[in-house]
Symmetry: none
Subunit: 416 residues, 2 copies
């Protein structure tokens, strides 16, 4: 008698790769990248393609008031909470073919494998594509998972507008209107477990030569906007003692904040945006507005630097005034041990090398983590490059990720 | 027999004030300030107004390939070199009603006084408004006086572009096209003497309670542009050790340069302009471009800080690269004793208190100093504030400055 087949034996790597290339045609850039804004006509085309692929193997599409897209494969007990896997199909304006898309297509490949094997799991299985993960058309991102999990309320999110003045509410309404008979469901459907495959967006796996990353968690992030207000004055006449130089105050702050974030060495502190007003060479700056992006896997480190930032901006402001606004605070999180061990076991069973990694970037799995056991599977991407037309993942790594996902889903969907 | 009247007796302080308010409507800001970029439509309106006021009292307008505006009052001997007085009518983006404008309107008031008295001076008298004194639309400033005096050549200046990509050459051509029959003259017309009235842009006169400053000279200036080049990276994943963060390198440089310019206390060091690329909150800055403006009356101080700046940018660049370009070097200068004594005598004769002051700011008089006897008359401005919508000068101080100018011009224009 032959050894019992694993679900991953039914994963078709060629089909998986072909579907990546097919989705990349929706919003294709001349440079080989992808520009597929959330809730755009290009995303609507990719969405219709997903629905068509799902229906072709008997999956039933659902959506909700955030335009999240679900494709459901029924379980032997439809009353049980489903296992859900997926990611997103929107991209950055200078995006690539794999960020987000891999998670959705690996989940679709898992459903296809189940159908190919012809055996229904105990629980239903759903593929999901969350709305506006990227946050580049409507800021901030994670809109779909925020609304689904109740992290944010519809009335707070729908009025957010893009650069052309179109609101999320209007964009959702137009994409829902284009759907072909896709029923609307409520937010907050109970979920048994959530697994999100994704390219790593870092080079730890590539450098280690390991195809599967078992994501231990997502590092904590705080984001700030700081406004330093001084007074414009003539560069040639105003004496130092009479100046209220907003730039020199900002420079003192940034220098001290950078020093405060030196340890531990993996503390990530970035001042990516800084604007000077009036920004004229012979005028003492009246105002400086700058961003701080702070991340570390250990909440204690993030909190310590946070306290330093708040102290420093006051200590270094001199005779200027300062406003600090924290615009985001996402604590570090550790994914559920049950999901992490399911991934490790599935990889080991297939003989695919795997290692623990953590996610420096945020993902929809962060929101799901707070409502169900959640986890992520990373695969390598070349040079760690993402959010870039040059983003690239090897076909065999995508296949390995989809194989591990398939066996993890099969395990979870057959657990009572 | 009555005492002989002075020309200053014909100065009309109310008219002088009303003309300041009238010019301030061209480029008026909602906050009461003035935004009148050089060679802009707003300056063209102010220029047309100046020409109209001049023609109404028989002055003849002239211009040149720098769009400098001259209004000529003929002398008894038209072959003699004219006495010239004036300043500029362009402003900083956050400018006020008096910087530059006072010098031009005081000169116009002198011409009006001559016409009112009905007696022609021996030499011609010309009012001038120099192009692009401020340097905020096209950097650096002093374009008109630089070209007139031959300090710079047309071919070096005309290609300089503003933030919208418009060149000085294009902007000059469009303002000249809008002129109503204003003849073009060559640069470098011989000048007998140049006097520039201006608000002090410092608070020495105000604190001393003295309405007239006899300007002894202009402090030395060096101006730089510094480009720090690093590499863009993802704020959430790139480790400190792997980053080439152009902003953090620039911040280290600016902090150290500011420290190096602490002594003596009247050293003026300004970083007024700083631009970050790509300037996105979640991207480590790839490039920073900033200005340094350094001034002190003592050339030795300027030279010492100059050496420190050049050393610091290399020491603090870390793993970025840096380009330093000195775009201006103007040594300290002392104005002609003949002009300074003429100002002192005119003030004393009218019983107006006067004192020696030096100019911390550069003025077009710097360029004129190298081709003819030149000097400046300062009047107080409130709190020393300029390049600011709150810039303010008292009407009686403007009147006193115009009275002194009138008698100085009359003296100089009747000297063989």
């Amino acid at each position: 008698m032959a050894a019992p087949q694993r679900l991953s034996d039914f994963v078709d790597g060629e089909r998986l790769w072909a579907r990546h290339m097919a989705l990349a045609t929706f919003g294709a850039r001349a440079d080989g990248g992808v520009d597929r804004p959330t809730l755009s006509p290009q995303e609507a085309q990719a969405r219709a393609q997903m629905i068509a692929w799902g229906r072709a193997i008997g999956l039933e599409p659902f959506t909700d008031k955030a335009a999240n897209l679900f494709l459901r494969l029924e379980g032997r007990d439809p009353s049980l909470a489903p296992v859900v896997a997926g990611s997103h199909i929107d991209s950055q304006p200078t995006g690539g073919k794999f960020d987000g898309v891999f998670g959705v297509l690996a989940a679709l490949e898992t459903a296809a494998a189940i159908v190919a094997r012809g055996e229904q799991p105990l629980r239903p299985f759903e593929i999901v594509a969350w709305t506006n993960e990227e946050g580049s058309r409507f800021a901030p991102g994670m809109t779909g998972s925020d609304l689904f999990t109740g992290t944010k309320a519809l009335e707070a999110v729908l009025p957010i507008r893009d650069a052309d003045g179109i609101s999320i509410g209007e964009a959702v309404a137009s994409i829902l209107a284009a759907d072909d008979k896709v029923p609307l469901r409520a937010f907050g459907l109970p979920i048994a477990a959530y697994v999100e495959p994704h390219i790593e967006q870092a080079s730890v796996l590539e450098e280690a030569g390991i195809p599967i990353g078992i994501v231990s968690g997502i590092q904590g992030t705080r984001r700030y906007r700081i406004r330093v207000m001084g007074e414009a004055a003539h560069a040639g006449t105003a004496l130092r003692k009479d100046r209220r130089d907003a730039l020199m105050a900002a420079v003192r702050m940034i220098r001290a904040i950078d020093e405060a974030a030196m340890e531990p060495a993996d503390t990530l502190l970035t001042v990516g945006m800084l604007q000077v007003t009036p920004n004229a060479p012979s005028v003492v700056p009246a105002e400086v507005f700058f961003s701080i992006d702070l991340r570390h896997p250990d909440n204690a480190v993030v909190d310590r630097v946070d306290a330093a930032i708040r102290r420093i901006v006051e200590e270094m402001k001199g005779n200027c005034s300062v406003e600090l606004k924290q615009i985001q605070h996402s604590p570090s999180l550790n994914f559920a041990p049950a999901i992490r061990s399911a991934i490790a076991e599935a990889a080991a069973a297939r003989g695919i090398p795997a290692m623990d990694v953590y996610s420096a970037a945020g993902h929809d799995a962060r929101q799901l983590h707070y409502i169900c056991p959640a986890g992520m599977i990373f695969v390598p991407c070349r040079g760690g490059v993402s959010h870039n037309p040059d983003e690239w993942a090897e076909p065999e790594h995508l296949t390995a990720g989809a194989q591990v996902l398939a066996d993890v889903v099969w395990h979870l969907a057959n657990s009572a």
